[in-house]
């Protein structure tokens, strides 16, 4: 069997692994990426494609997104392969007075955190799209939000990384891993031979706990399933990302006033016009293990929710549906961090539904961490692995 050496081994060929590979290779480090499947063959190809601040908790969360937006804007200029980048902003719509009140406080807090948010009234919403239901009261807007094609983005990052010398090995599953207590080197067994690495980054997404477990780590990430409908664009319904305000409630597990099924499947409207002229329509949130079967009951529920906000698109053609698994963490923040108990072992996973949004900032930050930089692009405390240390059992 072959044996190869690398300075940095990134486990995971999704968008997170891709962004880390790009920035580390660009900084001059020697990088190898391995994935058990193909490029973007997990969550990164079963999602929609947004770099959003609008749905992030005001403060650290939304700042992190804003930084990521800036990086993606730069990437759109420096990477060779186009990834359908557009920055039209995004909006949240409200269906009740309660939501309008909550939206106002959301906007105030975001503005205080320095983000470009503003309230929209009923008239603004009508201007946004004549296809909205008449009873919608208004909403809010985040001007900097942008949209990309997630797997073109992942491909583009890997293409860029390989130009800086990164090696990508696909269909190369981690079969076992150990750390030499004398040299501190990691030995990783794969079907394509042994890889000896000075540093390892676990960017395994929903499989990160499985990889971590090989060295005795307990990484609190669980798969949270989501469904998406791909619909044909038969009318000019809208040009930018639209979500219902209830999406925030659903995302953060708060109570909503919706029917039982909508609540059970965690369904909330997410509406995204793509460059290829389809609409990606979500969303749902369920803890059902690693089951990725498309559940038509959930799809129907999403369709009903969509028609509640856009009654006139009821006859649109559904082209396909798909589902994927988000890497969920108990506090809805990712883990982008060294692991204190294992020197030179890092985790970059657990982005739940924000992997596309936060890939760029994750890649940049991880590169700084790998180089032991003290001044990092964003503070690292909220996303340290050690924050879960004293949590004995993780509730889902």
């Amino acid at each position: 069997m072959d044996s190869r050496n690398t300075e940095v081994l990134i486990i995971g060929g999704g968008v997170i692994g891709a962004a880390i590979a790009y920035y580390t290779a660009k900084s001059g480090m020697e990088v190898t990426v391995i994935d058990k499947g193909d490029i973007a063959s997990g969550t990164s190809s079963r999602c929609d494609g947004n770099i959003l601040a609008i749905d992030k908790e005001p403060g650290f969360d939304s700042q992190m997104s804003l930084e990521s937006q800036k990086l993606v804007d730069q990437l759109s200029k420096e990477l060779d392969l186009d990834f359908e980048y557009r920055a039209p902003g995004s909006i949240l719509v409200c269906e009740s007075e309660d939501e309008m009140i909550a939206a106002e406080s959301w906007v105030e807090r975001q503005k205080k955190a320095g983000l470009s948010f503003k309230m929209l009234d009923r008239n603004d919403i009508k201007q946004e799209s004549p296809y909205f239901a008449d009873d919608l009261l208004g909403g809010l807007e985040c001007e900097t939000d942008s949209t990309i094609n997630p797997y073109l983005f992942t491909y583009s990052l890997f293409h860029g990384a390989t130009k800086y010398g990164a090696k990508v090995m696909l269909r190369c599953e981690v079969e076992g891993m150990s750390r030499d207590s004398v040299t501190g080197l990691f030995k990783v067994n794969t079907p394509k031979g042994e890889i000896i690495a000075k540093k390892v980054v676990n960017a395994g997404g929903i499989w990160a706990p499985y990889i971590g477990n090989m060295l005795g780590l307990d990484i609190p990430i669980k798969p949270r399933k989501g469904h998406i409908i791909v619909a044909s664009r038969d009318m000019p319904v809208g040009m930018r990302k639209v979500m219902e305000f209830g999406y925030l409630m659903s995302k953060f597990g708060k109570e909503r006033t919706v029917d039982e099924e909508t609540d059970k499947y965690g369904v909330a409207l997410v509406f995204e016009p793509t460059e290829s002229q389809n609409f990606l329509i979500g969303s749902s949130r369920q803890f059902v293990g690693f089951d990725t079967r498309v559940d038509m009951d959930v799809v129907n529920c999403i369709a009903r929710r969509t028609i509640r906000f856009y009654p006139k698109i009821a006859d649109f053609i559904i082209i396909r549906t798909y589902s994927g698994l988000r890497p969920w963490t108990p506090d809805h923040l990712p883990i982008v961090s060294p692991v204190e108990e294992i020197p030179n072992y890092y985790i970059a996973a657990g982005h739940e539904g924000d992997g596309i949004s936060l890939a760029a900032i994750t890649g940049k930050l991880m590169t700084e961490l790998l180089q032991d930089q003290i001044n990092t692009i964003i503070p690292t405390d909220p996303i340290r692995y050690s924050r879960f240390k004293n949590v004995s059992t993780i509730q889902t």
Partner: protein
């Protein structure tokens, strides 16, 4: 019979006589044959363009011809987004190509 058709074939033989089917494509009167798809009837009439990218207006035609790629969507009567490669042409059918859609919104303009 038009020049777009393969009448004689060295192995498959001569094309059988078939009933004509009259239909329109963007109001132009065209003739197809019974049992053939919209895509085939249009191509036989020299029509390669079936729709366009709804935002940029870039033109599109058939690609996979087996119903998989969804590139050949046309409007038939009141029905939107029908796959031309799988739909059989009918007498009197009104087929319309997909058009560029207006983007009349105040905000969210991408240009």
């Amino acid at each position: 019979m038009s020049k777009g058709r393969i009448i004689d074939h060295p192995i498959l033989g001569r094309l059988d006589e078939r009933e004509e089917v009259h239909f329109t494509f963007d109001e132009n009167k065209l003739i197809g044959y019974e049992g053939e798809t919209i895509a085939a009837a249009l191509l036989a009439n020299g029509e390669r363009v079936l729709r366009c990218h709804e935002e940029t207006g870039k033109l599109r035609g058939i690609y996979c011809n087996i119903g998989h790629c969804m590139e050949c969507r046309v409007n038939v009567g009141n029905q939107k987004s029908v796959r031309a490669c799988l739909t059989v042409i009918q007498e009197g059918m009104e087929v319309k190509s997909g058009r560029k859609l207006p983007t009349p919104f105040k905000k969210g303009e991408t240009q």
